[in-house]
Amino acid sequence: MILIQALFINGSFSLKYFIEFFSKSYYSETLINSFKVSICATFFALVIGITLAYLFSMFQFKGKKVLQILIIIASMSAPFIGAYSWILLLGRNGVITKFLVEYLHFPPFDIYGFSGITLVFTLQLFPLIFLYVTGAFKSIDNSILEAAESMGCTGLVRFFKVLLPLLIPTILAGALLVFMRAFSDFGTPMLIGEGYRTFPVLIYTQFISEVGGNAAFAASLAIIAIVIALVIFLIQKYVSNKNSFSMSSLHPVQPKGIKGLKKFLVYLVVYGIVFIAMLPQFYLMYTSFLNTKGMVFQEGYSFNSYIEAWDRMGSAIINTIRIPFFALVIVVIFAIFISYLAVRKRNLFTSLIDSLSMIPYIVPGTVLGIALLASFNTGIGGSGIIAITGTAFIMVISLSIRRLPYTIRSSVASLQQIPTSIEEAAESLGSSRFNTFIKITVPMMLPGIISGAILSWITMLSELSTSILLYTVNTKTMTVAIYTEVIRGNYGIAAALSTILTIITVISLLIFMKVSKNDSITL
C-alpha cells in the first residue's frame, strides 16, 4: 500500500526521468552492471551450492553438522561485512595479497570492482542454494536413483539426466532468491565496487547525495527496480510451474560411505569451500582483538576495540536488539491472523493478500526505504498524520514489512498441516470458533511460528539496505554502525561490532535449531 502511495507521489515526474535514465548510458550502465553481477553470482552460487548439496546428501563424511552450521552462519551476516573483510584480506594492502605477491611472486591483482563483488556475493549466497537443494534431496526417493543405475546410468550422467531435472523447481526458486538478493544488495558494491556502479547504489546516491540529490529521480529508479523484480518473479513462477511434479519419498536418499581418492577429494572440496566462505568472519574476529588506530593494525592484542565500540556505539547494540524485537512482535501477530484467513477462509480477498504480501519479498531494500520516507515524511498523502520519519517506529515498520511475507508463508505452512477435523472436533464439543482458535489452533501452530520468528529475527539483525536510509543518530543499528565505521576508517571498532553481531547471530541460530528440532531451514 505504501509503495502505491510512493508511486502516486511521483506520478507526474516519473516519465521525464525514465527517459533520462535510459538515454544516458551513465545511468543505464548501472542497470547492466547490476544484471551482470547478479547473473554471475547466481551462476557461481548455483554451481557451488548444488555441488555441496550433492556431496552432503550422497556421501558420508565427518563433521557434517558443524559444517552445516558454519555454512548457515556464512550466509547470515550482511554481505558487506564480508566485503570489508575481503578487502582486508585481498585488497591492495591485504594480508593474503601481500603474502602472495612477496613470497610467491604472484602478479598483483585487484579485488575491487566486478570480481570482488561477484566473489562476495557468491560466497554469501551459495548457502541459500545449498539449503534449498538439500531440502529437495530429502524428498527424492532413492529408488529413482537406483532404477537409473540399474539401467546403466551412473555418476555424472545420472546427475545431469535424472537428478537435476527433478530438482529444477527448487533450483529455480533458490536462483530467484539469490538473484534478487544480489541485485538489491547495497552495502557490498558500495564498499568494494570502487567505481563499478550498480543499480541500488545509484538509487542511494541519487537520493542521499549532498550535491542536489534528486528524490523524484530516485523514486522513478525505484519503480524500474520493482518492475524488473516483478518480471523475474513471474518468469520464475511460470517456469517452475511447468516443470514441477510432486514427489514424496518412502526411501529418502541415504548417504553412502566412500573411500580412497574419492574420499580425499570430497573432504577437500567440502572443507575447502566452507573454509573460504568462513574466512572473512574468522579474520574479522581475529582483527577485532588487534590494537587498531584507524585503518592501521598495530602490534599487540587487546579488548580495546570492544571497549571503544561499546562506548561509542553502545546504543547501536541496544537498538539492534529492541527494534527488531518490536518488529517481531508485530510480524507474528499479523502473520497468525493473515495466515488463518488465507488458509481457512479461502476467498478472493485472502488470495489477494497472499499475493500482495509477496511484494516486499521482491522489492529491494533501498526502494522500500525511499517509499517509506516519501510516504511518511509529510504524513500520509501530505496530511501530516503519522509523520514518523526519523523515529524508531519507522524502522520497526520497515522491518515488519520486509519479514511479514516470510512469516506468513511459514505460518500458512504450519496451519496447512493441521487437519480441519481437529478444529471440527473442537467445535463439535461445544467450543466457539474463537475459543478453538486460541486454545487449539494457535498452540498447534506454535512450534512453526516460533522457528519462523527466530529466523526472521536473525535476518532482521543483518539488515542494512533499508536502515541506512531511515536511520538517525538515535536509531542506529549495528549494521549501520559497522558501515559508518568502515567508511570513516575505524577498522578496529568495525571489527569488534561485526564480531558481536556474529556472536548474537550464532546464538540465535543455535536457539533456533534447538527449538525447531530439525536441521532444515527454508528462508
Binding site: P419, I422, E424, A425, S428, S431, S432, N435, M444
Partner: protein, 360 residues
Amino acid sequence: MSFIKIEHAKKEYGGAAVIPDLTLNIRDGSLFTLLGPSGCGKTTLLRMIAGFNSIEGGDFYFNQNRINDKEPSKRNIGMVFQNYAIFPHLTVRENVEFGLKQRKLTKEEIQQRTTKYLKLMQIEQYSDRKPEKLSGGQQQRVALARALAINPDVLLMDEPLSNLDAKLRLDMRQAIRDIQREVGITTVYVTHDQEEAMAISDQIAVMNHGVIQQIGSPKELYHRPANEFVATFIGRTNIQEAKLVTTGDSATIAFENGFTLSFDELANELSQGVRVSIRPEEYVRTKQGKDTIRGVITDSVYLGMNTEYFIHLDTGENIQVSEESTIEEDLKPGDEVWLAINKQKINIFTEDGSRNLLGV
C-alpha cells in the same frame, strides 16, 4: 436423547445436486448406519447432520427441534472422525475434559465424568499421556470417550475403524456396539464396509449417488434387497438372465438353456425379462433331476470352512457356488455338476435391476 428426522434434504456442490431429495427417520437410541461406496454421499449427509456442511434444502430435526440453522457447537452432538482428530498438545485426560470445560460444569463434575468415561473405554491408565504415545486403537477409544463424556443427544461416527488393522477392527466394532447399547445413545454411523455395517447396526440405509436405495435391518437387506444394487453391494451374489412368463394363475422363470423354475407367486406380474439374484450358498449341488441345472467346474478354492466353486453353466453364464467343505470331496476343473436352486431365498429383479419382484 433424540430421534432424528430428515425431510427432503438437498445438498449441492457448485450447482450440481449431490443429494437430490433424501428423507429418513432414525429412532431414538438406535445405531443407524449409512452404508455405500465411496462418493455416495454418506459422509456428506453425516456432516450436514453435524453442521459442518451447508444444507441447500430440506429440514433436519433432533426430536421436535429444527437444527438447520444451529452452529455445530450448539447442536449437542458428539463426533468421532476417521482420523480421530485428537488434540496432540493435550493429554488424554485433557482431551476428554475439553468438551466438558466448554459447558461450565463444576470442577468435581468434570473430574467425575472424565474418570467415568476413561474407565468405560478402558484407557484410564493412559490419562496423563500425550496422544502421540498411544496406538491407533487406544486413540480411537480416546476419541470415543471424548465424544461421549459430554452426554450428547446424538453420536456421529465417520468411518471410525477404517484406519485400524483387521483384527483390531473386529474388536473395536464389538466394543462400539456394546458401549452404544449400554449408554443407549442415538448413533449415526458411516462406513463403506458392509460386513461391519451388518455386524453392529439396528438399521442400515444403503446409499448410491446421493439416493437411498433401501432402509432396513441387516436381515431384511440381505434376504430381500430392494434392487440389484443392494443385492450386489451386501454380501455376494450371482446374477442370471431369464424371462418371466405369466399365463393366468401360473408363472415360470425360464433360463437361457431352457431350464425353468415355476414361480406362481409372480402370476400377477406381466411377462418380462428379469435378472435373478442367487447367492453362492443358494445353489445346492445334487444329483441330476427335474429341477436341476447342469454346469462344469472351471476352478475351485478351498477356504477352510467353505469351498468355492467357479462353474460354467449350460446357460452360458459363469457363477460362483459356495458349500461347506468336506474331507471326501474332491471336485476338479472339468467335472460335471448338477445344481438345484433354493427358491425360498433367491430374489428376482426387473430387467433394469430397479425393483425386486418378490419385494415386500
